[in-house]
């Protein structure tokens, strides 16, 4: 990633430009970035359901 792309990504994160204004490489980085954080922070339904049952939230 070059300096210009880094600048574009910073502007994107700051909400100054939209995703479709990014070049292909930046779009790819954003896509991977989103997938990684979504996957990492996704939760296990079994844990959510177990606690729901224990707390009688059904």
């Amino acid at each position: 990633m070059n300096e210009k792309e880094e600048e574009l990504l910073n502007e994107f994160f700051e909400g100054k430009i939209k995703e479709d204004e990014l070049n292909e490489n930046c779009k790819k980085i954003i896509d991977i970035y989103k997938n990684i954080i979504k996957t990492y922070f996704s939760c296990e339904n079994s844990v959510i359901n177990n606690v729901k049952s224990k707390l009688n939230f059904r």
Binding site: I32, T39, Y40, C43, V51
Partner: protein, 186 residues
């Protein structure tokens, strides 16, 4: 329904209101806890957060948004777990120093089940990358880029100044981007 009315229902112990609260916040809280809590204790930690919410809701005065109050409880519970692991780690180190038998000593953080049950390489790579960020960096990314909270709310939840939220988030994102590049995902 307004937040005020919803809080009123929670204070009246309305089971539907608690069910709604759980369905909305449990997955978000899970993500917060993941920053601090070992995989095999996440269920207990999640339960503890909701017990604190149930017990504390009558004391909620509405000085902050309900979500801020809930996230703050989750962060506090998470940090308690993290401190517990740190204490165990320190005890292990003391033990190691005294006995000079380090072959069977393993810090709790190293026994994290997360790393034992995951089979898919891609997911393992994601874990490796994310765990190179520190707790605070991951939490900032989670609260802003996943949950979409405002900088002000993040500042309230994490109890750090607004400017610090912005600058640390900037560096956390940059660090993650660099880790993605280094991992040759692109």
């Amino acid at each position: 329904m307004t937040e005020e009315k919803f809080v009123e229902d929670l204070k009246k112990n309305d089971p539907d209101a608690f069910k709604k609260l759980y369905e909305e916040y449990a997955p978000k809280i899970y993500g917060v806890l993941k920053n601090y809590v070992n995989h095999d204790e996440i269920e207990d930690a999640l339960q503890e957060v909701f017990i604190r919410i149930i017990k504390g809701i009558n004391g909620f005065k509405g000085r902050s948004k309900l979500s801020t109050w809930i996230y703050r409880i989750a962060v506090n519970v998470g940090k308690n777990y993290s401190r517990k692991y740190q204490r165990s780690k320190e005890t292990s180190v003391d033990f190691e120093d005294e006995t000079d038998q380090n072959h069977n000593i393993q810090a709790i953080s190293d026994t994290n089940v997360k790393n034992e049950v995951l089979e898919e390489l891609d997911y393992q790579m994601i874990l490796n990358i994310m765990e190179k960020l520190d707790d605070e960096e991951r939490l900032l990314i989670k609260l802003r880029d996943i949950d979409g909270l405002s900088y002000n709310e993040i500042s309230d939840i994490m109890e750090i100044p607004l400017g610090t939220v912005k600058s640390k988030l900037h560096y956390a994102r940059k660090k993650l981007r660099q880790l993605i590049e280094e991992a040759k995902f692109i």
